[in-house]
């Protein structure tokens, strides 16, 4: 096998090449071995492409590009979605008596949105397994799996986001801020919630200076039209 490998690396002299090719013609067993080597390499390359494609798909879907569908969409879908958003907002507004502080709003947001993680199509089996761990009340174990993903691939934005959310749910604010900063720094994302989530974490941590830091981040979310803009606009009015 080593002899065959050396030939395909192109390291052989003209004479060695001739010897190799003569052996193919005169030794059926050797020819079979060469054919196997080439076939196996073809299969490995194909496996490699498939693996990379799976990775690309995971990234693509996690970046919400999946929302790209033909442009013609029915208006009623938007109207229905808008009605749901308005109704939820009004409900929240009435329940809270319209007197929530930014800290209370952040708290409510966490309760409403981070209680469970959504299992998303294309998240990959292991990421889904970690999401399931979190949803079944094992946040520490889930965090450890998400962190393994992040350590293996520092650009896995989905794992970074989940690691931040789970850290926040575990009240490990410093860690959550670290992950959301990392997420916010990823300029390749179509939809980046890093800054908004970081602001939520600051509000939740509520240390000296945190409120100002959150306000600044929320303003940036509004100015740059980032994910969480609607909430940020409302929350800024509470400061």
């Amino acid at each position: 096998m080593e002899y065959i490998e050396s030939y395909f690396k192109g390291n052989n002299t003209v004479e060695q090449k001739l010897q190799f090719e003569n052996k193919i013609l005169n030794d059926a067993g050797f020819a079979d071995e060469v054919a196997f080597y080439i076939s196996a390499n073809g299969v490995m390359k194909q496996e490699l492409y498939e693996e990379k494609k799976r990775r690309f798909r995971e990234m693509y879907e996690s970046h919400k590009v999946v929302a790209m569908q033909p442009r013609v969409r029915s208006l009623w879908k938007y109207m229905a979605a808008a009605s749901v958003v308005i109704a939820s907002f009004l409900l929240t507004w009435f329940i809270s008596g319209n007197s929530s502080s930014p800290h209370q709003l952040a708290d409510k947001y966490i309760q409403q949105n981070f209680k469970t993680l959504n299992v998303k199509m294309g998240s990959g089996d292991s990421l889904q397994a970690a999401i399931n761990l979190f949803n079944s009340g094992k946040p520490d174990e889930a965090l450890s799996v998400f962190e393994k993903f992040v350590n293996r691939d520092a650009l896995n934005s989905e794992a970074i986001k989940y690691a931040g959310i789970v850290s926040l749910r575990l009240n490990n604010y410093d860690k959550a801020i670290k992950y959301f900063s990392l997420l916010a720094a990823d300029s390749s994302l179509y939809s980046n919630s890093g800054k908004f989530y970081k602001a939520i974490t600051f509000l939740e941590r509520n240390r000296e200076g945190d409120k100002e830091a959150a306000k600044q981040l929320l303003q940036e979310v509004v100015d740059k039209d980032l994910e969480g803009k609607n909430e940020a606009e409302k929350w800024l009015k509470k400061f």
Partner: protein, 198 residues
């Protein structure tokens, strides 16, 4: 941890990493994919492709471009974006033509023909006939039954990493250990394949 995140936008830097810095290659592959993934939408609009097909064409574009960059086939006569766009358009047209065939086949023959081209004609004919007799699906199945360590070693090598780089990446003691293990894995694969083929 933040230092691990390199946001590459510059063509030259991206090309340098693909060619020279294999440790950062995975990140660069992801970066390249993300950077121009809006092509997918363009493919859907321009060629009326389904999202799945446009995604396949775009993924194949990125994979082929990475190979071309690594193999110095990309000569920087245009920007990387223009180069990718050209390949992407060709892939979309190919997809439309091959709509009825298996999408996996778009890339399947490339690595084999690359190796075959290194052999002189007479010997090539012999090998070609033997390859045609091989059961690729069974071979793929056996590769996935090899065990994770062996599979990883073989796939890293197939991805262009040399033994020294594999040793560094997979934390083997030396390049020689990698080479011995890797060749042993290849023999094991051959044994498994031959056994099941009979």
């Amino acid at each position: 941890m933040e230092s691990k995140v390199t946001l590459l936008v510059d063509d030259d830097e991206m090309i340098r990493i693909v060619k020279e810095d294999k440790m950062a290659r995975r990140q660069t592959e992801n970066q390249l994919f993300n950077q121009y993934s809006y092509f997918i939408k363009e493919g859907m609009n321009k060629y009326s492709l389904e999202q799945e097909d446009a995604f396949t064409a775009y993924s194949d574009t990125i994979l082929q471009s990475l190979e071309n960059i690594a193999g110095s086939i990309f000569e920087k006569r245009s920007s990387l974006k223009t180069y990718l766009y050209k390949i992407f358009n060709n892939k979309c047209v190919d997809l439309i033509r091959k709509k009825t065939t298996n999408k996996r086949s778009i890339y399947q023959t490339a690595p084999i023909s690359e190796m075959m081209n290194m052999i002189s004609d007479q010997a090539k004919n012999v090998i070609q006939q033997l390859i045609e007799k091989n059961d690729f699906e069974l071979l793929r199945k056996r590769l996935n039954e090899l065990g994770e360590n062996c599979r990883k070693l073989l796939l890293f090598f197939a991805d262009g990493y040399n033994d020294k780089e594999i040793a560094e990446y997979l934390e083997y003691k030396t390049a020689d250990v990698v080479k011995t293990s890797r060749l042993r894995c290849m023999e094991k694969l051959r044994g498994l394949y031959a056994k099941n083929k009979e």
